[in-house]
Symmetry: C2
Subunit: 369 residues, 2 copies
């Protein structure tokens, strides 16, 4: 696939770190929440190998926040997600699928509970702010909804704790998964969560002050020299291996949360009120006829720009491949696909066309690792 | 500014015409409504010169449709916009700013009235579908909301009528501005509006069948050889000269419609019900303290990736430049800027820094031509 340059404009927002990641050798962008998100530095495979061994600093400012505050904020936030937040606690992060009136997916943010009446939805690539504003206006809720100037730096990789402890002290090692707290470095206070879009361990720093964030960015590289710190970004290979789903790639507003394997975040048995609840009850009762599964393909190169059909030996549709990359770990292409029901048992072979040639693959469970 | 490749994925949707525009030499993309939108072919300046003289075929599938249908659809559509649609007619297109509860802009679609209870909102770059879904759920409206598979081809330029008449017959010349109708070519029927994102004249074909659209794309080039037809796209220079505003570039959810010069589409004196109406009444009464104006700058090159500050001789902020390009017509940089009130009179000089050098410019009225 030929490369085309991305043409910049104010509409494709830069981040406070854009100049820095360009100095660090970013080699390609995507656009996410109307903002530039780096996709690779040296190469996706080199970045992958480094991420699994050392520590990386990521500009993930494109994970925008929707702040919802005010008297009715808890009711509004709950209305948007099928995950029961009635026992949620301040200082914790909740991965929560957002659902529309039809029982279909709108986004899959991490919801941070800052106070009982103040929430940050750290969103995937869709304009949750307008969903929230529409609902709030329709229900006449007493809430404020806005996008605060928060620009996340993620520190990811097995040496993340060592790097962060150098700046913030050893206490940061005690921060539990999907918890957040405030930590200080050189007179600046940072909101830090143990979270991130890899399964290699690490933190996300929700930076509220641009210049403090830029100082932190530079300091992470200074302090991390002996840890072989590098600039990185969410990595396609790693995230597929770990089955970290991507809204718009693996699932979208055409899919329901059961099809996307969000079962454990769908709480239908309490009396909490959320959109699409009756639809989801019906879907659960009837069962789904397709769901996201892993696939492995006997080939070493693939570029995805739209979903690709998978066929059985009789040319029936097995499903649709939505994300894929060559995994140096499995020595195969691995991918995430929406697979039709008769092909779920994890041993089904299929055919796929890649650049006009036919290759064989098998359906498998997620995650790969 | 260095060029970076855009890294493809399903999330940055291709269009039915992507392969064709790549064969026709597209040289850069932006992302718009989660979809690829071409930005240039030969060069933005060459494309501009051609567009103003001949005719171009544009892949503007990224102008996505939000279809709203059902018993309460007219009420919902009206609720979203400050433009009075109570006398709207089937077969007509209405440019209509969408407004949130705070009186701020959400989008500026062209609203096509297909039937009394069926509407297409042809949107700029924000997820209007979730705003509509939130409002519909909150108000318990009886509506259906979805994104139909519509992929617009625009035919733009002074020879547009001649080209379209070759395919669809001379009757298409009678189609009035911002009206639409169905026209036939080789057994396929197409929804065609006289509209488009240039002021060089032309049509937008709302293609509902991918393969019919691809056939039409190819036929437009076959039939248009002697008219010097070329592949094109919305052109930065032309759209700034014509003051065709761009959501996300020139204005966004931080601005109100008075600041964006939408006065003639703000109907506060009827009893129609829409979001933010009371806020807009107050803003109108109080007056705004900044608004979009044109600027001309004495230089020949600019790349925008974020807004740029404009200063007066005492280093007070004059405003913020949001879009800009070198105009071969004016032999200056022209741009659209949010200008503070004391600097509105159209003769104010300002200073601007471009690549670490200071240049002079003046504020002027819009449009430029």
């Amino acid at each position: 696939m030929k490369n085309f340059p991305i043409i910049r404009s104010r509409r494709l927002r830069s981040t406070p770190y854009t100049e820095r990641i360009e100095a660090h050798g970013v080699s390609g962008y995507t656009v996410y929440n109307h903002m530039l998100l780096p996709v690779s530095f040296k190469s996706i495979e080199d970045d992958y190998n480094h991420l699994k061994k050392y520590v990386q600093v990521w500009d993930v400012a494109a994970e925008r926040q929707v702040e919802i505050s005010g008297k009715d904020s808890a009711e509004l936030v709950q209305l948007m997600t099928c995950r029961d937040l009635s026992k949620s606690k301040i200082g914790k992060c909740y991965y929560a699928p957002l659902i529309d009136h039809e029982g279909r997916l709108v986004n899959d943010p991490v919801i941070n509970k800052l106070e009982n009446d103040r929430w940050w939805l750290s969103i995937a690539d869709s304009d949750v702010i307008f969903f929230a504003k529409g609902l709030a206006a329709g229900h006449n809720f007493d809430v404020k909804i806005h996008e605060p100037n928060v620009n996340i730096l993620a520190i990811q990789g097995p040496l993340s704790d060592d790097l962060m402890a150098k700046l913030f002290g050893d206490e940061i090692r005690q921060l539990k998964f999907f918890n957040f707290n405030y930590f200080e470095f050189k007179q600046d206070k940072y909101f830090i969560a143990r979270s991130g879009w890899s399964k290699q361990g690490g933190f996300e720093v929700y930076v509220e002050n641009d210049s403090a964030g830029q100082k932190l960015y530079d300091s992470l590289f200074e302090y991390g020299k002996d840890l072989n710190v590098k600039a990185g970004c969410p990595n396609l290979i790693e995230r597929i291996e770990s089955a970290l789903l991507s809204y718009g790639n693996d699932f979208d507003n055409g899919d329901n949360p059961f099809e996307a394997n969000f079962d454990k975040y769908i709480n239908l048995d309490t009396d909490i009120k959320f959109l699409g609840k009756e639809k989801l009850k019906k879907i659960k009762k009837d069962g789904v006829s397709r769901k996201l599964m892993g696939v492995k393909i006997d080939h070493n190169k693939i570029n995805m720009s739209k979903e690709k059909e998978l066929f059985d030996e009789k040319n029936n549709i097995v499903g649709y491949l939505r994300s894929a990359a060559y995994s140096p770990n499995f020595k195969k292409i691995i991918g995430i696909a929406m697979i039709n029901k008769p092909y779920w048992d994890g041993k089904h072979q299929f055919k796929i066309e890649i650049n006009d040639k036919t290759y064989l693959g098998t359906v498998c469970d997620l995650p790969f690792i």
